[in-house]
């Protein structure tokens, strides 16, 4: 009788330890996943920032019409092995960015990834300012990117 009781107590103790350990493992997993997503997002954003600034500093077409900007962007990134697309109605299509001009702002909708296996899922926005004689032209790149 006394032995059975001792075994039951030990068994109950083991179950409690397993439950608490399970919760802490769950917490660790959640934290690691959250931080991994965050790091991937930051890395993707930084990489895209660097590439876009590099393209902008080499392009002579930022003062031109929106189509020229889109074609220049598409050619530059495609040459470097990226897949350029745009997102229309939530659907990704592999084509040059969609750039439209309204007053002093050119807005380009784009998507950027390295492979077709990974859908670009990190929101991205970059504004390039270009001086003109009497105003500043804003070129806004908005869309989704992935670094994987």
């Amino acid at each position: 009788m006394g032995d059975t009781r001792a075994i039951n107590i030990i068994f109950a103790g083991i179950i409690i330890v397993i439950v608490i350990a399970g919760f802490y493992l769950f917490l660790t997993k959640q934290t690691i996943e959250k931080q991994t997503d965050s790091i991937k997002g930051s890395a993707g954003t930084l990489q895209t920032d660097r590439l876009i600034s590099e393209w902008a500093s080499q392009s002579e077409l930022l003062t031109k019409d929106p189509d020229a900007i889109a074609q220049s962007f598409n050619a530059w990134f495609t040459l470097r092995g990226f897949l350029v697309g745009n997102i229309l109605g939530g659907n990704l299509q592999y084509a040059p960015p969609l750039c439209k001009e309204h007053e002093d702002t050119v807005t380009c909708n784009f998507a950027l990834s390295k492979t077709k296996n990974k859908f670009p899922d990190v929101d991205y926005e970059q504004i390039i300012l270009i001086p003109e004689k009497t105003r500043i032209r804003h070129i806004v790149f908005t869309g989704k990117v992935t670094y994987e």
Binding site: F23, L27, I130
Partner: protein, 158 residues
């Protein structure tokens, strides 16, 4: 097991369910409350590289617009004044501190080179807009001399 034993076991089940639920909600609360991201500050510092590349591009394009007549005696100050207009507009949009009349100019071969004497102060900001420091950067530009608008002088001989 007698009745007392069943009552005790039932009470234990209820206590365990309550304790486990409380622990679960604590864990979820802790996970969701963790807003600090790894590398948040470092990302702001790394982002500066792209920022200054775009700033440098703006300075270069501004210089192309401001270059004017390079042979004019007041050309250096005129160019700096023109640059002031563009760069102060940029400073306003980006919250930079850009010194005025800041460019030293020189001709090297076919190029006109401009170098900032004092650095621009660029705020380092996190994703949520909190300023964590200031970066200093001296922009330079290099444009083709052909951008100079030199007026033609027509000499007539009788």
């Amino acid at each position: 097991m007698n009745k007392k034993g069943y009552d005790y076991a039932a009470l234990m089940v209820i206590v365990v369910i309550i304790a486990v639920s409380a622990l679960y909600f604590q864990v979820i609360k802790k996970t969701n409350g963790m807003n600090h991201e790894i590398g948040e500050l470092q990302a702001s510092v790394l982002k500066i590289n792209s920022e200054v590349t775009l700033y440098q591009l703006f300075v270069k394009e501004s210089a192309k617009l401001a270059v004017g007549n390079c042979l004019s005696p007041t050309w250096t100050s005129t160019l700096n004044q023109q640059l002031n207009g563009h760069l102060q507009a940029y400073a306003l949009l980006k919250q930079y501190k850009i010194p005025r009349d800041n460019f030293e100019l020189a001709f090297t071969g076919n190029e006109l080179v401009g170098v900032a004497l004092l650095p621009t102060e660029i705020p380092l900001k996190t994703k949520d807009g909190k300023q964590i420091g200031t970066a200093l950067f001296k922009p330079t530009f290099s444009i083709q001399v052909s951008a100079c608008q030199i007026p033609l002088q027509i000499v007539t001989t009788s």
